[in-house]
Amino acid sequence: MNPIYGYGQLVYGALGDKLALTETFVIFAPLLLCGVAVALAFTCKFWNIGAEGQLYSGGMIGALFAVYSTSLPSIISIPVMLILAFLGGAAWAAWPAILKVKLKVDEVVTTLLGNWVMTYAVAAVLFGPWKNPVTGWPESPVIADTAKYPILIAGSRFHLGIIVALIVAAAFYVIIRKTKWGFELRGIGGNPTASYASGINVSRQIITAAIVSGGIAGLAGIGQVAGIQFHMTTDLSPGYGYTGVVIAMVGGLTPIGVLLASFLMAVIVQGTQAMHRETGVPWALAETIQGIILLCLLVGIFFTKYRLRRVK
């Protein structure tokens, strides 16, 4: 098969018409949130690999409210749902941060294992008390209509969550570039000892950063519930939390970089599905490309740090 035709289908399938483009944005929203979540934590060298678990935690807590909030108007139920989802994700990032700060337990391992604890906890609830009594599917009852994200472009799935994601990305820019807190986080990432010596409460800043990071990942979870699925399910995310790590690194931990990287990844995910339909190329290509982009980037970082120079 002609590779140019194949990749042409990828680009066309992601950007080619209105439906494709809105679907790309639907994937872009959780990816952007996870990318920002990871980038914020990585900025102060809190290696949060747990965005996936925090996403599920936020989705679960948010859905718990959204299912039973039938009597509230949207103007109240959506903000409350967002706050609860934020807190749900934040809680799942807080304990690894506290363990790191208080007991020096390595957060790479705890956040990673936390993903699986949360995934199984969600599954236990959805296969147990919340199982759909009629179909037997592991899914919660449908959330209240008033808690569903409004659709912003008629005839598509372009929902409010995409705007939420963009607002969070803008807030990330402001935090990192314009606030004292962001400055301190960058300082901790650059040199924790110097930050400590200059009077910054490093422990507290790391815990705060972890909490905000987890909260943002939680927003990605509730976005999937309130914008797309309309009930809590065990397949909210096909690994968006892990892709968030790729995005944060490819984006160089900068707000603009993360924005562009998450759009690129959304195009790859959405486009590969289209390419699969048109040409039969396996969809697993999307993951392969993502991983290889990250690995190439790591090599690229090395070569920008150490330039080759001809010695005369």
């Binding site: 290696w47 690999i49 363990l99 007991l103 020096k104 337990v105 390595d106 790479v108 391992v109 705890t110 990673l112 294992l113 936390g114 699986w116 604890v117 199984y120 906890a121 599954a123 236990a124 296969f127 147990g128 690994g239 892990y242 892709t243 790590v245 790729v246 690194m249 396996p282 697993a284 290509l285 999307a286 993951e287 392969t288 490309i289 993502q290 991983g291 290889i292 990250l294 690995l295 790591l298 090599v299 970082i301 090395f302």
Partner: protein
């Protein structure tokens, strides 16, 4: 004890060892790399690639051992990739490992799909490894059936444990290896080639993890499915910590974790209505608890996660 109980117990014990086997292979490998100072989060990807290439070669050649060999070679190559990223160019270990896993989990299914044209219907499978009963010993009730009527790969895995413990703690090579993980600069001063040592550990780990993956496709199920490992690589990451970086304890931990899985499966099969996800969650929870318990006396190799720069 009635005959039924005996059969049930034998069944659970035999299942325990079968489920522990991929964990033993993967975790022994991971113990080597972490002892040398490298956290290999690529292990999940290595296991998946081993399962995939092992199956493909075993299926098309009809020789399962050729499949095991192919898996080992694939693992060695992936170990070299991980080594190039984390040792030669000093990329962050957890990011490189995660990237490798993401790429491999896509690639493992991609190569399977493009090699085997099969859409719908029964997935192709091989006749998996048969057990080799050891004369006389296999006649012992319960123990004989569990320990001495196993696949050749299981005997190999069991022998691997004491050999690894001996290499790590009783040989000059093992001493050098641990020195590299504790204090690479001092090790280098003492004339140890840190780069070579770490590369060697990663290739060993790659081969072992991939064979652990191939166990799943060639000895256990006889086929390959996307995500066949079901996160066993991450269980290995947990198990290394749980086993305190010691091969002998890896055996105990793998049997414990495998046992939890086996009990869960048999409870499900007799129709016990317990949320089995809570059992699946248990290894991760136990490991996090162990991390907290040992945090007061940090036992992880001191140079874990730090890259080493040659001074020349």
């Amino acid at each position: 004890m009635s005959l039924l109980d005996a059969t049930l117990i034998t069944g659970v014990l035999a299942a325990t060892l079968r489920l522990a086997m991929p964990l033993i292979y993967g975790t022994i490998g991971e113990t080597f790399t972490e002892r040398a100072g490298i956290l290999n989060l690529g292990i999940e990807g290595m296991m998946l690639m081993g399962a995939s290439t092992g199956f493909l070669v075993g299926y098309s050649s009809g020789d399962l051992w050729l499949g095991v060999l192919a898996a080992a070679i694939t693992g060695v190559m992936l170990g070299l990739v991980m080594g190039f990223l984390t040792i030669s160019i000093g990329a962050q270990q957890h990011v490189a490992g995660l990237g490798l896993t993401i790429a491999c989990s896509g690639l493992s299914f991609y190569i399977y799909r493009i090699t085997i044209e099969n859409v719908g219907g029964i997935p192709p499978h091989v006749d998996p490894f048969h057990t080799i009963p050891i004369p006389y010993l296999s006649q012992i009730p319960i123990i004989g059936e569990v320990l001495f009527d196993q696949h050749a790969l299981a005997y190999l895995g069991l022998i691997l444990v004491p050999i690894s413990a001996f290499i790590l703690f009783r040989t000059r090579f093992g001493l050098a290896l641990r020195a590299v993980g504790e204090n690479p600069n001092a090790a280098a001063t003492a004339g140890i080639d840190v780069f070579k040592m770490r590369y060697l550990c990663l290739t060993i780990a790659g081969a072992l993890s991939a064979v652990g993956g191939a166990w799943l496709s060639l000895a256990e199920s006889g086929m390959f499915l996307p995500g066949l490992t079901q996160g066993r690589g991450w269980v290995c990451i947990a198990l290394v910590v749980f086993a305190n970086w010691s091969p002998i304890r890896v055996l105990g931990g793998a049997i414990l974790f495998g046992g939890i899985d086996a009990v869960q499966l048999s409870l499900q099969s007799v129709g016990w209505n317990v949320p089995y996800q809570l059992f699946l969650m248990l290894p991760y929870v136990l490991t996090i608890a162990a991390l907290i318990a040992v945090s007061r006396r940090a036992r992880a190799p001191a140079a874990l996660l730090s890259s080493y720069k040659r001074e020349d």
